[in-house]
Symmetry: C2
Subunit: 680 residues, 2 copies
Amino acid sequence: MDTLHACPPTPTRPTPPPDASPDDLAAAPGPTAAATPAVDVPALAALLDGRYADVRRLVREGLVEHAGVLEEAETLPYPEYRERVKDIVVGLASTGQTGMGFPEEYGGGADLGASIAAFETLGFGDLSVLVKVGVQFGLFGGAILQLGTRRHHDAYLERLVRGELLGCFAMTETGHGSNVQALGTTATYDPETQEFVVDTGSPEATKDYIGNAARHAELAVVFAQLVVSGEQHGVHAFVVPLREGGRVLPGITIEDDGLKMGLNGVDNGRIRFDGVRVPRTALLNEFADVTEDGRYVSEIENPNRRFFTMLGTLVQGRVCVGAAGLSAAKVALTIAVEYGLRRRQFDAGRGEEAGTEELLLDYGLHQRRLLPLLAETYALHFAQEVLTEQLHDVFSGVTTDEASRRRLESRAAGTKALATWHATRTIQECREACGGAGYLSVNRFAALKADTDVFTTFEGDNHVLLQLVAKGLLTDYASDFEDLDQLGMVRFVAGMAVETVLERTAAHKLLERIRDVLGGDDWDQDAGLFDPEYHLAMFRFREEHTLGGVARRLKRGVDDGLAPGEVFSRVQDHVISAARAHVDRLVLEAFVDKVASLPEGDLRDALNVLCDLYALSTIEADRAWFMEHGRLSSQRSKAISREVGELCRRVRPVAGELVRAFGVPREVLRAPGLLSWGDD
Amino acid sequence: MDTLHACPPTPTRPTPPPDASPDDLAAAPGPTAAATPAVDVPALAALLDGRYADVRRLVREGLVEHAGVLEEAETLPYPEYRERVKDIVVGLASTGQTGMGFPEEYGGGADLGASIAAFETLGFGDLSVLVKVGVQFGLFGGAILQLGTRRHHDAYLERLVRGELLGCFAMTETGHGSNVQALGTTATYDPETQEFVVDTGSPEATKDYIGNAARHAELAVVFAQLVVSGEQHGVHAFVVPLREGGRVLPGITIEDDGLKMGLNGVDNGRIRFDGVRVPRTALLNEFADVTEDGRYVSEIENPNRRFFTMLGTLVQGRVCVGAAGLSAAKVALTIAVEYGLRRRQFDAGRGEEAGTEELLLDYGLHQRRLLPLLAETYALHFAQEVLTEQLHDVFSGVTTDEASRRRLESRAAGTKALATWHATRTIQECREACGGAGYLSVNRFAALKADTDVFTTFEGDNHVLLQLVAKGLLTDYASDFEDLDQLGMVRFVAGMAVETVLERTAAHKLLERIRDVLGGDDWDQDAGLFDPEYHLAMFRFREEHTLGGVARRLKRGVDDGLAPGEVFSRVQDHVISAARAHVDRLVLEAFVDKVASLPEGDLRDALNVLCDLYALSTIEADRAWFMEHGRLSSQRSKAISREVGELCRRVRPVAGELVRAFGVPREVLRAPGLLSWGDD
């Protein structure tokens, strides 16, 4: 399903007259102070679990079974914790829940969507287990599956899926993370022996931060510059044995990365190769090969395009990381909201009962701190669901065109960035909202913070990912442009008229629709604040306008004679803003679509309120931009802030139900004494 | 010195015409693209170290000597790490650096300012050591010194200062953190035996999160509700022995709080008292006493006022926590900026040298991420310096009036909130700016994040502290109002005309001056963007206007018949905004004052640029508010964003010097491989 250009039918909502209330928070209840619809937790939970409810149930059972690892993460010395995590991962493999994405002939479940759902659910538990699963089955297994051919599949997949063959994904180097094309490790073909010789060379080319490397990996998929007959062919992937019977093989040096901020159940390490020889067949040859007689062959002629095609296999990892970040945010919100429903502080002053202290969640500020984050978590959940469907369709061959694949990559990159930043922010706010209690390890925030922190920079640094998104937007994913890096983007735009660039973008088509639906150019001043078409129009306008701004700035910079690097450096923050605006719009569309798809009733009404809160609080957060660009008067801007407060008050009565529907098992929440459930 | 109403002389700066450049980043260099002044690191370091340079040198030597504890924090099991930290703290005590704030007759340095400077510098190192010092000498020692009288001083101070008598500060309870007045522990006077009987009662009244309690404290200062002859007299402090020869005494139960997110070298614990008897003289009786015949006496008649006077002794702890947070931010910035000056990524595309990768700090976005935080760190440093001077003057008796003391308390509360949030944000951004490397424990961010996280909620939750600030502002620190809590604030405002409230506020007097200096009501449209008077005018306008908004909203809420609690809940986010605006203004004034006090030359010019960056990036962050309130046109708002980018480019060439001047010893930075200094 392509929702990029989809126009969802809009649900009917009560629309209050704009600026109905005066410039004052304490005004008498206006027409927006409608009753909050009731929330049926099982029904909402079923909606969130979606088509993979069975898979999620299986994973939840496993989480409960191994819940003790959350405490062991603190009590065991880290070498033992690593072994414990490995054992759990191998145990999970035997239940089938980690192999959902592999072909049935190798013991897999042949359902990529199910595999993402399983991984997402695993994100409620210990995140070292999650990341170890991701390294083994997502990165290592994914590389063998997608970059390799039948000979590699036959050789490795069955044992890999069973967790008997552990491996690692050796891409990042000490000197190069995001700029994978510049990796320094080389794999030189020796036609004499029909082998590749893998060499690290300079210390900067040491493979670094590689999960599973320090202790457990038997094999590595190594990314290295392929050299054949003295000619460089760019980065390719090779299967290189690291250990045999637990011993590191000759020519290979492995160093432990040591303690990290979090995820200490994963054994990250550094690997150096010194003249390590692997057979010609070790090249994962789905997209390129070296023949026996030493010729380089590939069906993809353009080397850059070949490179990005290989990198496209990372898309699955990014979808997974975003989903896991979201799960961690759900755990944090569950604890903080429940705590806010139990903990009292200061005199309530609400009438007769003097001395009764107020529940934290009855404070306006506390609502403001937590409830927009809750709304955004729902929004991202539904956006993640759409993304997973698209991933499933592209990788199962349901959708086959190149543009869909590019859009998927872009969407995965952008959603990963927003979801992981959201997780960092949410976990921090939830921790602070639990005060000193939030600081104790037993209440989970310590591990949540430490473990998820790296999500914003691994599997692609968030800023670099958003640059990818912007690049795709500027070119409408045109195939003749996909191989350009950031400087190529500058040169490309410089070569054409700004209008041409804009007309080619996906965003451009959106704005036409706004005028059709809401009419004229004054739509922003007249539309109701609770009209989803208004929200979408605002998000779309911002997307098109920021993207146009990037194109104009790039062009003007080049016209003014600045070097491309200088131009890019100066426009970079606009590039990031444009990409964010784009992903925000996709997220809102997903939420609006979901609400519209529901039958009329309380559940739909409640999600409607939450969707309004997401939309208006997002507009509020960027209201300066909207005012700067003539799409928000100062009066209307203030009205939006008031309505966000009002929506928080409406969500407040169902906040407990909204977090319970996430379905985080009680056993993994820990937090004795913090929750309003009476079990401690 | 009272800088609250001070009007600093303004330095002359080149003022570009407003909106000189078109709506485009890549415009030809405008008049703002002036050369960046050189920075002499030793001169700037001397300026930052200020009058306590000798003390800071002593502390730095100790940090270098004990730098190994940073690694031991990771490698030792936490019970051993706690012992190690204790040993270091006792060792530091012998050098005199932890006792600067105590009278000379007890072995102290009799210089409170020096004591803050020492503590601040200690914040570069292991933060468990810092917090243990704070607990022992600041909280426990401070309570004995300030709430006790000579009998307590003579009994405890000398051994306490030498680190021979360790104690804890038992205020917070499981059920009550911020709302100290509602504590549940009781101390009932028994006239028969002339003893107090201390009881915990309900589990909610268990003392919790108490540093030094789990292992090392021999004594506790316990805050409890004093009951004499059946009458409650509110919270008072008592000296209660916890252990003798390492054994917990009868009637006392101590539980370990266990592992925490960070600061695991500090032994936090829970304490319960069951009929524990202490002599009548155990009451710390500086402000109130119980006579032998069982009469309660106090020179402060109003119980609320008495309570707040006792709590006023916390001010020193808050000044210290803010300072320490700032030091942690300096460590993070030092590492991230140095890394940005060493690490290259992606083709630079700046002319001839193809293949040369760009330094991270030459990317516009990277500058945008780090340099405004660097500018804010400088601003907060100078604000902290002013605060320390005021603290010193009030506590040394140089300033004796009640209003100055109230202002100090307010300023300490507000600066603590802003400085600790700044630390959390800065450390996070710096970690992300170092990518995967930032995630390794060896590079310090792990400990910095985990250890400082609780700063935002301990020694007063930041939001609660900002509410205190706002309360003080609304009443201009009037003594007849100081004892009102949040609901009292609502009722107070409700009882008078809004104009009366406004005229009484400190902020009101500020706005008059804006008009005098910049003329008329159009000052915001005409003033140069680099005129410090313009910056101050904007900050002051925001302060007065937000405060007025709070008063109006409170009044209207009550007039509309809402319960005081409901009114407060709805206005709470405005209360927080008003307090923030106030503290921002104090911070800017401190920075502008400092720049103005310097002799003309490169150093002053460089700090001028940094001060502009702080001021404009702060305005930029809240530009929506300024537009909403008619003080910024959309054009001028965009111009400010452009100038922030331009100022970042001007700061970039001296960024290394600016962080080196913080004087963080190389040994405590760790981070082998991340720094641009050639020592790894």
